[in-house]
Symmetry: C2
Subunit: 415 residues, 2 copies
């Protein structure tokens, strides 16, 4: 129960809000900004001047001036190549690292396949080494006057918010690891690396840049090997008491059903995950058939009329439908988004999912809910990591820049 903000807090908030606007919506004129933020143009001018001085935005002529006569008005544009974050995406099958500019453009990226299980880099030191090497090569290619303002990593497991500790990563052999700290040390850029659940970041990305723009109550279901979830409630990511919120994959939809990596039975993950789909489709034992390509192959086969593949998708779609029905009743979301491998699974079983939803969800919350696939495709979690990495600078731009440019441990004479 805090009182309203001080003048200085309001100024910082407004700086962040303006920067956030051009970061998410792209270059905008002062008039547009004044209208969108509910501020007068002289305030917008002052805020823009501060952000320009900090090197976060610049004002310039629009690239495609409008048809109006006279001098076109300047637009405020994010410094998208100079100011960037590092985004890491640790999947079960692949690693991704990207340099993402203010404004959201992926400026440069590295990808690597990972082998599963004991033969792959499940050794934490090896994983950290691979991620750091890729990131350093991206940083070396960045311009000398560019500045990295944050870093974040998407991880397919349970991550404690207070210290980014990984509590549970059943589909990846890494438990109890301070991954962010290790990676930050290895990077040596003097910036912390936040670690967050991949599906939570997928929800953030789809909310800010994907299917969910404008929808403040959405559920994102992410399939990798397991099934994760991210939930936006009233425009904010549901974290719960310690950041473990959104573990939709371990909602039990079929009590006594298939065994799950978490130790329980009949979890949504156990009933609709990749392994189950492949098992239903009789493809479990074929060597080399795993991951997104294997899931897509089942959907393609079903499209071509393969009865076993169709039946597999029907069975998985039934449980996915029950899961979605429960979530619709609990959350009354405006939107449910399917990402990762669930994107393909949903496309191959949409009729069944909708049919179960019609039975299992109450009419009132069911009526207006939309079901969609992730607009950001395979980049959902990576883009989410980038947005998470930008969060601090968007909340208090000038403060963060000042800290990055004058680190506390630097000698005073060095300036």
């Amino acid at each position: 129960m805090r009182a309203g903000p001080s003048q200085e807090e309001i100024r910082r908030h407004n700086l962040g809000t303006l920067l956030r606007f051009v970061h998410l919506r792209g270059p905008a004129s002062r008039a547009t900004l004044a209208g969108a933020l509910g501020l007068n143009r002289s305030t917008i001018m002052a805020l823009t001047a501060d952000l320009t001085a900090a090197g976060l935005v610049r004002e310039e002529l629009p690239r495609s001036p409008g048809r109006r006569a006279g001098r076109p008005s300047l637009v405020v544009r994010p410094e998208s190549t100079r100011v960037y974050v590092l985004a890491f995406d640790v999947g079960v099958d692949r690693l991704g690292v990207a340099r993402v500019g203010l404004g959201g453009e992926i400026l440069d990226r590295r990808e690597a396949a990972r082998e599963r299980g004991p033969s792959g880099p499940s050794d934490p030191a090896e994983l950290v080494g691979a991620l750091a090497a890729a990131a350093r090569s991206l940083v070396r290619k960045a311009g000398r006057d560019s500045v990295c303002v944050g870093a974040a990593l998407a991880f397919p497991g349970t991550v404690r918010r207070a210290d980014d500790q990984i509590m549970f990563g059943p589909n990846l052999d890494i438990g109890d690891l301070a991954l962010g700290e290790a990676l930050s040390r290895r990077l040596g850029l003097g910036i912390p690396v936040s670690v967050c659940n991949d599906a939570n970041l997928g929800a953030l990305a789809e909310h800010e840049r994907g299917s969910g723009v404008g929808c403040d109550n959405l559920i994102y279901l992410h399939g990798d090997v397991g099934v994760g979830g991210g939930i936006i409630v009233g425009g904010r990511l549901l974290g719960g008491e310690e950041g473990f919120g959104g573990e939709i994959g371990h909602m039990v939809v079929n009590p006594g059903g298939r065994g799950c990596a978490c130790g329980s039975r009949g979890c949504l993950e156990a009933e609709v995950g990749e392994r189950t789909l492949l098992a239903h489709a009789g493809r479990e034992e074929v060597p080399g058939t795993a991951g997104r390509d294997a899931v897509r192959a089942v959907v393609d086969a079903a499209d071509r009329g393969d009865i076993v593949a169709r039946d597999a998708l029907h069975r998985v779609g039934t449980w996915l439908g029950w899961g979605v029905a429960n979530l619709v009743n609990i959350f009354n979301p405006g939107l449910v988004v399917f990402g990762g491998t669930l994107r393909d699974v949903y496309l191959g079983s949409a009729a069944q999912v909708r049919s179960v939803l019609a039975t299992g969800a109450l009419a009132a919350p069911r009526e207006k809910v939309r079901l969609r696939t992730a607009a950001l495709g395979d980049d959902t979690t990576l883009v989410g990591a980038a947005e998470f990495a930008f969060a601090e600078v968007l909340a208090d731009p000038v403060q963060v820049l000042a800290r990055l440019r004058a680190p506390e441990d630097a000698p005073v004479t060095s300036t």
Copy 2:
């Protein structure tokens, strides 16, 4: 994406915050308020003066002065007998109406039993008439200088936020009804009556005045005949896109299980609701055995060693445990609160609920979650309705008072 507030908005916010503090925490000295709200004492003095002038608080000597020497400092006290709301609680078995003072004290109340089904007042006009008559008798007994600042009604069904329309009330024969509007007209006090789902209000009440004070992520499970839910996420009630959020009772925990009033099967409500408990206990057919007393009788019998009653609670406790496990995985709450008849059911099946939770919930979110019964007992939903009714005046106290005292349609000469 709005800019920070104006000075006037901040002043109103601060007036509301101060009033909210003394409303929820009780009388407080200026020093306490300054510390709690992060404002200096002269600002507190100005805010208090405004609220005093509006008749919302008064300053006076503390009732039990401290031991310090010298003149005891004044405390700011809510005008708890002068400023009040009307709270309505429509249960399946009973009606409650109360006059609740600023500060939360129930000043006066009326209760009536309702008969179930076609013989009871399921006729909307009859229901509205009974509620209005009880409320008017409470208003007549209030002092002449007192002012009613709001009214709200707890309803055991699905209520659309935009227009308070009741969409679904399966355990009460009222569908598609503008209950709030009808009641407001019948009351004739010139104030609107908000209608809200009863379990949502229970969550609000337990969060603000019950077991959940200080816990910003909690789940409230309410048993009447059906099972409802209210969810607090990050300190705010989860409403979803249209206010239907929190329908935990229609989460399917047992696919293909017992039929539910909603048309589905195996919903939490169908597996743990009053009718199911009584059926398991072999008490379904005994005339006159329904409602809270019947549920308590089963729990009492189990306590005395009745094997059938024990078995009934064990079965119901198992499904309740699965429901809670799912919610713990999805929300990572700090607290789960059992209210209404589920209070007794939980007390009679806690060991089973905890045992299933240990299997069905992930270790990380399970570790710190607490399970508790509703601290407000049978008044949970009524207290929630009162808090909901106070929301507007707490958000903008002076504005609301001004509107109530000078209604637009009153002739100017009447003042």
